[in-house]
């Protein structure tokens, strides 16, 4: 069962990576990176399920928060403005 979950999530990651590599425009890559960040949170939840340790969810929370900040920075870059105005 766990193997099945892991294979499905890996397939999602490969779809995202396809879009990161082949995306025609910069916003496409940004979307794929954002989605990849959320999928990794799902991965860490599965890891917590396998091992029974709570610190995998710490990793998940920090990944979700930092990927949010990264996405905001990329979005501000796409708006064509400096990071600090």
């Amino acid at each position: 069962m766990i193997t099945f979950f892991t294979i499905m999530l890996s397939a999602t990651c490969f779809f995202c990576l396809f879009r990161v590599i082949g995306g025609p425009t910069p916003p496409d890559r940004t979307v794929a990176i954002d989605v990849l960040g959320i999928v990794v949170v799902g991965f860490s939840a599965i890891m917590a399920l396998i091992t029974g340790h709570d610190y995998f969810l710490n990793i998940g929370i920090s990944w979700a928060l930092l990927s949010f900040i990264g996405t905001m920075a990329l979005a501000k870059y796409l708006e064509g403005r400096g990071f600090d105005e």
Partner: protein, 112 residues
């Protein structure tokens, strides 16, 4: 690992399926806005289902509570990130797909 309960397995399976559909949408749909539609909605809901499955499996222990917190953070941040990307790409000058019907934002921008 303790034995996976049926309810948790069902929830996680639904979540993983939604994740996969989101990934497929990311590949198949034609332009950036449609991809955002599929990707953010399906993947967010899928990850929420996975976390709810973890919560059901472990109950209100430290793992379950962290799963709730993670769920709340994802539900707050993911739509905001989607909105920021879509606004950014509209400002970046990405046109809508040619099959699109209407673009009120571009009309209003050109009026200013």
């Amino acid at each position: 690992m303790s034995e996976l309960s049926t309810a948790a397995a069902v929830f996680i399976s639904i979540g993983v399926a939604f994740d996969l559909i989101g990934g497929l949408g990311l590949i198949r749909l034609p332009d950036i806005y449609n991809r955002l539609q599929a990707a953010t909605k399906c993947v967010t809901l899928g990850t929420c289902f996975i976390l709810i499955g973890v919560l059901i499996q472990f109950g209100f222990t430290s793992i379950g509570v962290k799963a709730i917190l993670c769920l709340a953070f994802i539900l707050m941040t993911s739509p905001t990130a989607a909105h920021a990307i879509s606004k950014g790409s509209h400002d970046f000058g990405i046109k809508l797909w040619e099959g699109s019907v209407v673009d009120k934002l571009a009309e209003d921008k050109s009026k200013e």
